[in-house]
């Protein structure tokens, strides 16, 4: 009878458990956009040689098309933005070995030159972004590299004539000229200039009439001079010998070829001795006489500015006093002068840009007025380049220099509004793109987020009404009583929230969180909502709401200008959590260039995560935080110390300078004493790269230095082979560990080798030295180094690695995962390190200076996709299985189940022990399940770093992927959502059942008692 009852209760337990844990496997479509967000970015614009261009995408039904902004970015992206709302119309990212050089637009055609020497040519459709064709003129191995990369490359659409198909001529590799059909990319002709080589460098071309005129440089003993060449446009036969132009050229960009009013002719202009010189090339290739462009003007010119309208015969000439003239090359005269463009302390330096209109050009100048603290734009509209009619206009605009820095480019729209004012798209020095109109500042794209140097999740505190405050030890009884009485006002709110949470909480409702703002900074019930602090390379900090990507605050750490940023962020750490009502704090380490660009110092800041305020003094002039200057030079390494600052209760940061000495931030005597105490068990390592040898060096802090800090004492050194290139250098992820071993089928234990000091270094040794080829093979090596004693704990060698693929590594606890590309495809390796012992495991409590034998179990698999980055999921207590996260070849983020990557998968027939352990028999191929794609519909372009953070519930892991695009998800549950009730769970029914049962007990209890009593009588 007892057995039966127990059995029943067991059944009940089983049922209830299986009921509760109705596991959600895979990501469901309805969770897309709820559990994650994706911010597509393009990167910061490249301004040379083709800055972003505002064009109108022609539409058949309207004359005025929609505005589009085409540009190339430093992230190797060709992007087209919608000018109305700033959204990305389309974009393409190219491989690192194929750098973008320039783009050329005509109607719906976007021609892109890329690769070294511009040897790869692609044609895109402006409206759809689809690739029409792609041609490689020379194999990328043979392509000539020039510095800058765009030197010696050019492309021009051949003016279409009646009855002829559209063509384009392209100059690549500073010597080869080719002509393509636009419709299908058919090569019509291609010719390498016979004389060109090391001394002759072709730079620009212009097709006109029946000729293609080419401008080149001739390097001679005396210096560079100009040289022209003319080809027949239909046959490619040179029409004449090289035209030697008597000239001296100092900077290649100070000479250009422009069109003339006469079809078939071209003009070459350059600066020589402060004068603008001009020469005419006739259609047959004959060169005229050198003339002064503006003979009677006595003013000296400093430079020629090409704003991309030279094919319309318009250039800008900058005079020695800074004023800029608009010069028509074809008419050989000055058309206009930009008003008040001479250098003045009242204005910033001007930025010039231009765009072609149907028959004319629009030129634009923007500058910052220091007096009025506004931006000013001046526009010169030349409706027809053959006449000298011009319309000038201008406006001022409000612009947030504090947030965006200075503007470094302004793309001007090819149409003007009824007030003759253009729409501008500003590119700013700290990476933002902003649309600007008169009285109407438009959208802003924060493209600096494409270059995040460091990011951290910051846990938020509980809502105030539910906050458990720290017990105040010094509080008296009366004080506490009165405090509690005051806090009673929060009771109704608390009760309401509790009842709401108790009755209505489910998985979906838990995912729908209130967006954060500066006044509402609380976490949700399950800790899915956090603050995401991102530090971009140029020193702009952002706090993003992890649930929707909205920026809570942003702040600049330093000044940025066209020349770059004075701040270069190195890394960032969480130094204080938000427990007990205090505000979480982060430490930021950066290098700062002094104003005169001579000295580089390492600076550290303390950042309040809730408000974005930087602790400490601010610059009296620009109100930027000064931070704490630690030392001169760059830091080699930095890490947190296991000490807290006495005042701020923030963890103390140790920073290693270039001479391997240790500095602490914030400086504190107590901490220094603490370091001295543990100096023989505090280790740090740096990678020192020498000319002939690279080595990893380990140090301990020794003698205290004057003025704080410690001298580093070298205790070990690990040389890396001279021919080995270090690819990646990653630390082991060592968070909360729930299990110290793996239980085998016979219930014995394989104890994990747990060592929190491990560093993983991957290297590549090319098989042939000195050959820079894209498809280079070689040997890859992976070292796992104990950074306390410099021992190589584990080492593996991979033969036949293709360099193009690189080697990606990652290690968590005792599990090392690495991927590479070999001859046949992508491979992934998995290694687990175990203690080689029969008795109890000793790591990690044992000192790493005591010997531990290691047993490494390895296995490798075939992956059907590229691996661009490796990361791991994490969880609060470390109980949930850890999965590998990868960025695959389709720019998706996918997870690979741990069980598939288990190196202990049996290769033969699985034994009963293997079955007991539920090991899957080995199969070489790891299939990529579409269910395991975390980023589902999004393409997370350029993701390089996968940062994970644990939610409050054990099952769930948060992920932040960054690199170019940003992607955050809180839907990674490697073992299912076992600790969250699913939506199917009928809470009301459960409550009703419980209520009914209670009522039944209340009613039936007395009756049963009465009956029992009655039974006793008889």
């Amino acid at each position: 009878m007892i057995v039966n009852i127990r059995g029943l209760s067991l059944i009940f337990t089983f049922f209830s458990i299986s009921f509760l844990a109705s596991v959600v496997v895979g990501l469901q479509a309805d969770l897309a956009g709820i559990v994650d967000w994706h911010l597509p970015l393009i990167g910061e614009y490249i301004l040379e040689p083709t800055p972003p261009l505002y064009v109108l995408q022609s539409q058949s039904q309207r004359n005025d098309g929609e505005g589009r902004i085409i540009g190339l970015t430093k992230k190797n992206v060709l992007a087209v933005l919608n000018a109305e709302n700033g959204d990305i119309a389309w974009r393409h990212q190219f491989e690192l070995s194929d750098p973008v050089i320039s783009f050329h637009v005509k109607d719906d055609n976007v021609l892109l030159l890329s690769g070294s020497g511009g040897s790869t040519i692609r044609l895109f459709s402006l409206s759809t972004g689809s690739l029409s064709w792609e041609k490689s003129i020379v194999p990328s191995e043979e392509a000539r590299l020039t510095i800058p990369a765009y030197l010696g490359t050019d492309a021009a659409f051949v003016p279409s004539k009646q009855g002829e198909e559209d063509t384009v001529v392209v100059l690549t590799g500073s010597s080869r000229v080719s002509k393509f059909r636009l419709s299908d990319g058919g090569l019509l002709w291609s010719m390498e200039s016979p004389g060109s080589g090391s001394t002759i460098l072709f730079n620009q071309l212009i097709p006109t009439g029946s000729s293609v005129h080419i401008l080149g440089f001739h390097s001679q003993f005396t210096g560079q001079s100009l040289l022209t060449s003319t080809l027949d446009i239909s046959t490619s036969i040179p029409k004449a010998d090289f035209g030697q132009v008597p000239s001296i050229i100092e900077i290649p960009s100070q000479a250009l070829i422009a069109s003339s009013t006469i079809d078939g002719e071209a003009k070459v202009v350059w600066i020589e001795h402060g004068r603008i010189r001009i020469i005419t090339i006739k259609e047959d290739g004959n060169v005229g006489k050198v003339k002064d462009l503006l003979p009677r003007k006595g003013k000296l010119y400093e430079s020629i500015i090409d704003v991309g309208v030279r094919r319309k015969g318009i250039i800008l000439g900058k005079r020695s006093d800074g004023a800029v003239d608009v010069i028509s090359v074809s008419q050989s005269k000055k058309l206009e002068e930009f008003e008040l463009s001479a250098n003045s302390p009242e204005r910033s330096e001007s930025i010039y840009s231009g765009t072609e209109t149907k028959n004319g050009v629009i030129l634009n100048r923007v500058y910052w007025s220091f007096n009025m603290a506004v931006g000013a734009a001046q526009t010169i509209n030349i409706p027809n380049v053959d006449s000298s009619d011009i319309i000038t206009s201008g406006f001022t605009f409000q612009y947030d220099t504090l947030s965006h820095g200075t503007f470094i480019h302004a793309a001007v729209s090819p149409t003007l509004n009824d007030k003759q004012l253009p729409t501008l798209v500003l590119t700013t020095s700290n990476g933002a793109i902003q649309r600007m109109e008169l009285d109407n500042p438009g959208w802003v794209r924060e493209e600096s987020l494409s270059d995040i140097k460091a990011a951290r999740f910051v846990d938020l505190g509980e809502p105030e009404t539910e906050e458990v405050r720290e017990v105040l030890a010094e509080e008296g009884f009366a004080g506490r009583l009165s405090r509690h009485l005051v806090e009673l006002k929060d009771l109704p709110g608390y009760l309401f929230r509790f009842a709401k949470r108790f009755t209505s909480a489910s998985y979906t409702s838990a995912l729908q969180v209130t967006p954060l703002n500066t006044t509402h900074l609380h976490r949700d019930q399950f800790g899915f909502q956090k603050l995401l602090i991102a530090a971009t390379a140029k020193g702009k900090l952002f706090a993003l709401d992890s649930s929707n990507g909205a920026a809570i605050w942003s702040r600049n750490l330093g000044l940025t200008s066209a020349g770059g940023s004075e701040i270069d962020i190195q890394d960032m750490w969480n130094v204080r959590d938000g427990e007990g009502g205090r505000e979480p704090m982060l430490a930021i380490l950066a290098t700062k260039v002094s104003k005169d660009k001579e000295t580089l110092t390492t600076v550290a800041y303390h950042l309040n995560a809730y408000t974005g305020l930087i602790a400490g003094e601010v610059d009296p002039v620009n109100h930027l935080p000064l931070g704490k200057t630690l030392f001169e030079g760059k830091p080699q390494n930095a890490f947190l110390l296991p000490f807290e600052n006495c005042g701020t209760k923030a963890s103390v940061l140790a920073v290693i300078d270039s001479s391997n000495d240790l500095h602490i931030f914030p400086p504190c005597k107590k901490v220094a004493a603490g370091i001295e105490e543990i100096s023989d068990s505090l280790f740090y390592s740096v990678i020192s790269r020498g000319i002939d040898e690279t080595s990893v060096k380990g140090f301990i802090p020794s003698a205290a230095r004057e003025g704080g800090g410690f001298k580093g004492e070298l205790i070990w050194q690990l040389p890396i082979g001279a021919s080995e290139n270090i690819l990646e250098n990653k630390a082991v992820i060592f968070d909360s560990i729930s299990s110290f071993g793996r239980v085998l089928g016979d219930k014995s234990t394989l104890y994990k080798y747990l060592n929190p000091h491990l560093q993983v270094i991957s290297t590549f040794t090319p098989s042939q030295r000195g050959v820079s080829s894209v498809n280079l093979n070689g040997i890859g090596k992976i070292y796992v180094v104990d950074t306390t004693n410099g021992n190589v704990v584990y080492q593996t060698q991979i033969d036949g690695v293709k360099e193009r693929g690189g080697i990606k590594v990652g290690m968590v606890e005792n599990w090392l995962v690495f991927s590479w590309l070999d001859e046949r495809g992508w491979r992934i390796g998995s290694t687990e390190l175990f203690e080689d012992t029969e008795s109890k495991g000793v790591t990690p409590s044992q000192s790493s200076f005591q010997d531990v034998k290691i047993n490494a179990v390895s296995q490798s698999f075939i992956l059907p996709t590229e691996v661009k980055a490796i990361g791991f999921t994490t969880s609060k207590a470390g109980i949930t299985t850890k999965e590998v996260l990868i960025v695959n070849g389709k720019n998706q983020i996918a997870s690979i189940p741990r069980r598939l990557l288990d190196p202990r998968r049996p290769t033969g027939k699985p034994t009963s022990r293997d079955k007991e352990e539920i090991l899957i028999p080995y199969e070489a191929l790891i299939p990529l399940e579409p269910k395991k794609v975390i980023s589902h519909k999004y393409e997370v372009l350029g993701a390089k770093t996968l940062l994970t953070s644990a939610a409050l519930v054990e099952s769930t892991s948060l992920l932040f992927a960054y690199g170019l695009d940003l992607f955050v998800t809180r839907g990674i549950t490697p073992a299912g959502t076992f600790d969250i009730l699913s939506d199917n769970f009928n809470k009301v029914q459960l409550l009703l059942t419980l209520g009914a049962l209670t009522a039944g007990i209340v009613v039936a209890g007395p009756a049963v008692k009465r009956k029992e009593l009655k039974n006793k009588w008889y």
Binding site: I2, V3, N4, R6, G7, L10, I11, F14, R456, W573, N574, V575, D577, N637, F639, L640, L641, P642, S651, A654, I678, S681, L682, F683, Y684, S685, A731, V732, I733, F734, D735, S739, F740, G741, V743, L744, D746, K747, S748, T749, L754, N755, P756, H757, L758, Q759, T787, T788, K840, G841, T843, P844, S845, Q846, S847, S848, E916
Partner: protein
């Protein structure tokens, strides 16, 4: 002459109500020693001996009963399979708790089988000894041993099912480790 009131209830000399058939009035020692007690004692001893023998035999039967059921239980266990299911678990539960409860209630189980010890001699037959467990020691030991066999069978089944914490893996989650004694730049990454 004094007059005394007697409040006592007059004692009945003879029981008017007859005893139930087969009821022996409690025999006092006086009665036993007197009269024909001597003649009956032989028969009584004989009867007593017989009862004792019977009880001992019954005790041995009881002691060995679990062992006899053992093969059947083994067969049942074999057929219940080694998977962790509700039926095999219930069987194992009964196999494990049964012997333990049986051993704890061993005295109650053997209570009715206590033999009354025979008077050793007619001379000292004045007192009848209380029934004792003395002669049952051997069957009781056998009983415990047999229940032990049942328990062992249950444990064996547990171990084949893998629910007996016999390996180091079963205790892994109770193992603790100290913090590593050293600090390194890499280890401090877990700080934030």
């Amino acid at each position: 002459m004094t007059f005394r009131l007697d409040y006592t209830v007059p004692q009945q000399k003879n029981n008017s109500i007859p005893n139930p058939p087969g009821y022996l009035p409690p025999a006092s020692s006086k009665q036993l020693s007197s009269k024909s007690a001597q003649i009956d004692s032989d028969a009584l001893v004989k009867q007593n001996k017989k009862a004792t023998e019977l009880k001992l035999r019954r005790a041995w039967d009881l002691a060995l009963a679990p062992a006899k059921a053992l093969p059947m239980q083994a067969v049942m266990l074999y057929f219940s399979g080694s998977g962790i299911q509700i039926f095999s678990l219930a069987m194992i539960f009964s196999l494990l708790t049964g012997p333990i409860t049986a051993v704890f209630s061993i005295f109650r189980a053997f209570e009715s089988l206590r033999p009354t010890s025979t008077p050793s001699s007619s001379l000292k037959s004045d007192e009848i000894a209380e029934p004792s467990y003395g002669p049952l020691v051997l069957p009781m030991i056998a009983y415990v041993a047999c229940q032990g066999l049942v328990l062992a069978l249950g444990l064996y089944k547990c171990s084949t099912m893998g629910i007996l914490p016999s390996g180091s893996g079963d205790w892994l989650h109770f193992e603790t480790r100290l913090d590593p004694p050293e600090w390194s730049a890499i280890r401090s990454l877990s700080l934030g």
